[in-house]
C-alpha cells in the first residue's frame, strides 16, 4: 500500500512538473513570416519569437474541423480572427513593441505565444 501511495504522489508530482513547472524551450525564431498549423488541439509552432519594430505575418492553417479551433484571439492586441478550414488566414502585425503576446482559441485550449524582443 505504501508503494502505491508513493506512486500516486509521484504521479501528482509528475503532473505538476510536466504541465506547469517545465518550460519547454521550443521557441521558433522567425524573421517576418511563419506558417502555424492548427490541428489536434495545438498550434504548431506555438511559441514564436520575433524582433521588435518589424512587421510580422502569422499565417494560420486550420486543419481541425472542430469549432474550438475556429476563432483565434490575440486579446492584448484586440484581434480576433475566424480561421478558415484548410486555408491560410493571414494576420499581419505592424510595429509590435517588445513583450509577450498570447494567442489562443475562445476556450484557451489552443494556446500559443508570440515573443517580441
Amino acid at each position: 500500500m505504501i508503494i502505491i501511495n508513493i506512486l500516486g504522489v509521484a504521479l501528482i508530482a509528475i503532473i505538476v512538473w510536466w504541465f506547469w513547472l517545465y518550460k519547454p524551450n521550443k521557441t521558433v525564431v522567425i524573421n517576418n513570416e511563419i506558417l502555424i498549423e492548427v490541428k489536434d488541439g495545438m498550434y504548431s509552432p506555438s511559441s514564436i519569437q520575433v524582433s521588435a519594430s518589424q512587421p510580422v505575418t502569422l499565417k494560420f492553417v486550420r486543419k481541425d474541423q472542430s469549432p474550438c479551433a475556429e476563432t483565434m484571439l490575440i486579446p492584448s492586441l484586440d484581434i480576433s480572427e475566424q480561421l478558415k478550414l484548410n486555408e491560410v488566414t493571414q494576420i499581419t502585425l505592424l510595429d509590435l513593441s517588445p513583450g509577450e503576446y498570447e494567442f489562443h482559441c475562445q476556450m484557451q485550449m489552443y494556446r500559443g505565444v508570440l515573443k517580441v524582443i
Binding site: 489536434d40 488541439g41 474541423q65 469549432p67 484586440d78 475566424q82 478558415k84 475562445q106 485550449m109
Partner: protein
C-alpha cells in the same frame, strides 16, 4: 500566389475602349507561365489561366498603361457558405461516430443492467470479454481517434485539454478491463469487472454532445449571417453608355449604378439622378422608409422601394458601411467582457487540477475504501476525469456575447467589444446631449425680433452670411432659412468662431457679431431691454441668439430644434431602469429647462462649454456613478471618451464607428434603451452560464470522486458522467441561444 496551374480573375481599371482589350490580353499572355488570357470588356475583368503569380500579372497590365487588381473571392457570404458546408460535413462525421460507438455501448449497457456485473470468472467469459475489448478498441479507433490524437499532441506540448480528460478516462477504463481479461490474478476476485461499456458509451455520448453543440453554435451566428445576407450579389452599372450586370465585387469606385424599385443597393454611393424612398430598417432598425433625392447618400444592403435611381459608387468592397458593420460585429462577437476573465484563468489550470483530483480520489479509495478497493478506485478516477467539463466554463462567456452582440446589431446597435457590453449593463447615470440627441438636431428659425435694425430680411441676410462659415447646427438653421427665402449670401472675411460663445466676422466693412449674451457682454454690446424677450423665447423651448452690427444689437433671432417624437418614451424607458438621466446643453437655461420639462428630465445643465461636459462626466464618476454619455460623436468627443460607455448617435446610416463604445445607427433614443436592455440580458445570460458551469464542476467532481459514498453508498457511474459532461456544454450553448428570443421592448 500559386505555382500550380490555376485560373485567376483580375479587375482591369482604366480600359476605356474596346481596342485596349487586345493590348491587355497580349500583355497578360506575355507574362511568364500564362497559358491563356481573356478579357471581358463589358465588366472589365480578365480571366488568366496558368502558373503566373498574381503580382506578375498586375505588373504586365501596368506595363501597358492600365491598372489591375485581383478579385477578392473570399467575400463574407462565400466564407459563411464554406463554413456551413464544412460544419455540415463535420456534423455528419460526428453523428456517424456516435452511431458506431453507441451501437456497441448501448447493448453492453443493457446487458450490464439486465445480467448484472460484467465479471470475468470463467475462461469462456475471458474469451468473450476479450472479443468485446477488441470491438471497443475499434470504437476507440473509429469514433474516438480525435480524442487520443489530440490528447497525445497536447501532452507532448506540455498542455492539457478536454481531449486529455476523455482520452485518460476512457483509456483507463479500457486498459483496466483488458488487464482483468488477460491477467485476472493481478486483481482481487471481487474487482474482476470489465468497463468496456463505459468506454464505448462515453465516446458515443461525447461525440453526440459535440455534434449537437455544433448545430447549436450555428444558430449563435445567425445575426451575422443575416447581415451578410443583406449584401446584393450583382449590380447594374453603366459602362460606355450601356447597362451591364456584374458581381458586386467588380463594382469600381465612381461607377454609375442603376437601381430599380425592389432592388437592393449594391455599394455605398451618392444619388446622381432620380428620387425614391429606401428601406433602411435592416441596418438602422428605423421602420420608416427614407426619402432620397439627388446628392443624398445611399447605403449598401438597403432596399430601394419606390423609384428608379442612378447613383455614383463612393465606397465599394470592404469599405462600404455594411462591410464595416459586419467586420465590427464579428470582432465584437469574439471579444470577451471582463466577467469572463476569471473563467479563463481557471480553464488554464483546470485540466491538470482535475487529473490530480482523479489520482487523489483513486488513492483515497485504495487506502480507505471497502473491497474491491481497486475497482472503486478505477471507477472514481475515471468518473472524475470524465465528468469535469472545461468546455462549459470556456464557452459560458463567448457564446452569450456572440448572440447578444448579434441581437444588438439587429436592433441597430453596434457594440464595440465585450467590455462595452458589460459596462453598458451597469450604467447608473446617462448624460444626454440635447441637440441632435434629444432633439432632431435640425433647428429652424422661428422668430426674428428687431432691435436697432429695421428690416428682418436684411438681418437674416447678414446673419446667414456670417453663419455660413460655421458648422454649428444652429448656424445651419439660419443659413437654410435664408436660402429658403431666396436671400443671397454675402461674402464675409475675418471669420472667427469663439467656442461656446458664438461667431464674429466682417462683411462689407461692418463688424458682425452673433452669439449668446456672454458674447455680447464680452464685446460690450448693450442688450438691456431685450433680455426679457429673449427669456420669453427660451421658455418656449426656443434658442434666442443676439445679432450685433458694429457693436449695436440689431436683432434677436430665435431658433427652435424640434424634440424627436419618441424621445419622451425612450427617456421614460431609461428612467424605468433606475438610470439617472441628465441633459447637458450649451443652450440657454430657459431653453434647456423647457426642453427638459417636455421630455421628463429633472436634472439638466445648461450653458455648458464642450470641455465642461467632460468635467460633468468626471464629477458623476467621482460620486460613484457608472456614466454613459450620448452625443453626436464630434462635438462631444472628450466627454464620450471619458465616460464609462460612450454612445454615438448616428444620423441614419452615417456610422460614427470610430469614436464610440456603442454606436446607435438610428437617431432614436430607443436605441439607447435597447442597447442597455440587450447588455443587461446578455450579462444575465453569461452569469447564468458561468454559475451553471462552476456549480456543475464544483459539485460534479466530488460527487464523481465518491464523496457521497460514505453517507449514502452512491458512486456515480462513468457513463452517467459522460452523459453529464456531454450535455453540460450543450446546455451552455442552448442557454446562450435563448438570448435570440430577446426582444427590445415594443416602442
Amino acid at each position: 500566389m500559386t505555382n500550380n496551374i490555376s485560373s485567376q480573375q483580375l479587375i482591369i481599371e482604366g480600359a476605356g475602349c474596346a481596342s485596349c482589350v487586345g493590348k491587355i490580353e497580349r500583355a497578360l499572355k506575355g507574362a511568364l507561365g500564362v497559358v491563356s488570357a481573356e478579357m471581358n470588356f463589358a465588366d472589365r475583368t480578365a480571366v488568366v489561366v496558368g502558373t503566373a503569380k498574381t503580382e506578375e500579372l498586375i505588373r504586365a497590365v501596368e506595363s501597358v498603361g492600365y491598372n489591375a487588381k485581383p478579385i477578392d473571392h473570399s467575400s463574407a457570404a462565400e466564407v459563411i457558405d464554406e463554413k456551413e458546408v464544412a460544419d455540415r460535413a463535420y456534423y455528419k462525421k460526428l453523428m456517424r461516430d456516435t452511431f458506431i460507438a453507441l451501437s456497441l455501448g448501448v447493448p453492453l449497457m443493457i446487458y450490464s443492467i439486465v445480467v448484472g456485473e460484467m465479471t470475468v470468472e470463467t475462461d469462456l467469459e475471458r474469451i468473450s470479454w476479450f472479443m468485446v475489448g477488441v470491438l471497443t478498441f475499434g470504437v476507440m479507433y473509429f469514433s474516438g481517434k480525435h480524442f487520443y490524437v489530440g490528447a497525445w499532441k497536447s501532452f507532448k506540448n506540455h498542455s492539457a485539454n478536454m481531449d486529455t480528460l476523455i482520452a485518460l478516462g476512457t483509456g483507463t477504463a479500457w486498459i483496466y478491463s483488458m488487464v482483468v481479461v488477460f491477467v485476472p490474478d493481478a486483481v482481487p476476485m471481487m474487482a474482476r469487472h470489465v468497463y468496456f461499456e463505459a468506454t464505448a458509451m462515453i465516446i458515443g455520448l461525447i461525440d453526440l454532445g459535440l455534434a449537437l453543440e455544433l448545430k447549436a453554435r450555428g444558430k449563435t451566428s445567425e445575426a451575422i449571417k443575416r447581415l451578410i445576407g443583406l449584401q446584393a450579389k450583382t449590380a447594374t452599372v453603366i459602362r460606355d453608355n450601356k447597362e451591364v450586370q456584374i458581381g458586386i465585387e467588380k463594382v469600381l469606385l465612381n461607377d454609375v449604378v442603376k437601381v430599380k424599385p425592389g432592388e437592393k443597393i449594391s455599394v455605398d454611393g451618392v444619388v446622381l439622378e432620380g428620387h425614391t424612398s429606401i428601406d433602411e430598417s435592416m441596418l438602422t432598425g428605423e421602420p420608416m422608409p427614407v426619402e432620397k433625392v439627388e446628392k443624398d447618400e445611399v447605403v449598401a444592403g438597403t432596399l430601394n422601394k419606390s423609384g428608379m435611381i442612378f447613383f455614383k459608387a463612393t465606397r465599394v468592397g470592404k469599405d462600404t458601411a455594411l462591410a464595416q458593420i459586419i467586420d465590427m460585429v464579428k470582432r465584437a462577437q469574439n471579444s470577451k467582457p471582463p466577467i469572463g476573465r476569471l473563467a479563463d484563468v481557471i480553464s488554464g489550470y483546470f485540466v491538470p487540477v482535475v487529473m490530480i483530483i482523479s489520482v487523489l480520489s483513486a488513492l483515497a479509495w485504495l487506502n480507505l475504501g471497502p473491497d474491491p478497493a481497486i475497482a472503486f478506485a478505477i471507477v472514481s478516477a475515471t468518473t472524475v476525469l470524465i465528468i469535469a467539463c472545461p468546455c462549459a466554463l470556456g464557452l459560458a462567456t463567448p457564446m452569450s456575447v456572440m448572440v447578444g452582440v448579434g441581437k444588438a446589431a439587429e436592433a441597430g446597435v453596434l457594440i464595440r467589444n465585450g467590455e462595452a457590453l458589460q459596462t453598458a449593463s451597469k450604467i447608473t447615470a446617462m448624460i444626454l446631449d440635447k441637440t441632435g440627441t434629444i432633439t432632431d438636431g435640425a433647428p429652424k428659425v422661428t422668430d426674428i425680433v428687431l432691435a436697432n435694425a429695421t428690416n428682418d430680411k436684411e438681418v437674416l441676410q447678414l446673419a446667414a452670411s456670417l453663419e455660413s462659415g460655421s458648422e454649428h447646427p444652429l448656424a445651419q438653421a439660419i443659413v437654410e432659412s435664408a436660402l429658403e427665402r431666396g436671400i443671397e449670401l454675402l461674402k464675409i472675411d475675418s471669420f472667427n468662431a469663439i467656442t461656446g460663445f458664438g461667431v464674429e466676422a466682417n462683411c462689407d466693412k461692418s463688424a458682425l457679431l452673433f452669439g449668446n449674451d456672454k458674447l455680447m457682454a464680452v464685446k460690450d454690446v448693450d442688450i438691456t431691454g431685450y433680455v426679457e424677450q429673449a427669456q420669453t423665447l427660451a421658455k418656449e423651448a426656443k434658442t434666442p441668439m443676439y445679432f450685433a452690427i458694429d457693436g449695436q444689437l440689431a436683432a434677436i433671432i430665435a431658433v427652435a430644434d424640434p424634440i424627436k417624437p419618441d424621445s419622451i418614451s425612450a427617456i421614460k424607458r431609461l428612467q424605468a431602469n433606475d438610470i439617472r438621466v441628465i441633459m447637458l446643453t450649451g443652450d440657454y437655461k430657459e431653453t434647456a429647462a423647457a426642453v427638459a420639462a417636455k421630455v421628463g428630465i429633472t436634472e439638466f445643465l445648461a450653458e455648458v462649454l464642450p470641455a465642461d461636459k467632460a468635467n460633468k462626466v468626471q464629477e458623476l464618476q467621482d460620486s460613484g456613478e457608472t456614466v454613459g454619455m450620448t452625443g453626436d460623436g464630434i462635438n462631444d468627443a472628450p466627454a464620450l471618451a471619458l465616460a464609462d460607455v460612450g454612445f454615438a448617435i448616428g444620423t441614419g446610416t452615417d456610422v460614427a464607428i470610430e469614436s464610440a463604445d456603442i454606436t446607435l445607427m438610428r437617431g432614436s433614443l430607443h436605441g439607447l434603451a435597447d442597447a442597455i436592455a440587450v447588455s443587461k440580458a446578455t450579462l444575465r445570460n453569461i452569469k447564468q452560464n458561468l454559475f451553471g458551469a462552476f456549480i456543475y464542476n464544483v459539485s460534479g467532481i466530488p460527487f464523481a470522486a465518491g464523496a457521497l459514498y460514505p453517507f449514502f453508498g452512491i458512486l456515480l457511474s462513468p457513463v452517467i458522467a459522460g452523459a453529464a459532461m456531454a450535455f453540460s456544454s450543450l446546455t451552455v450553448v442552448s442557454n446562450a441561444n435563448r438570448l435570440r428570443l430577446f426582444k427590445a421592448q415594443e416602442h
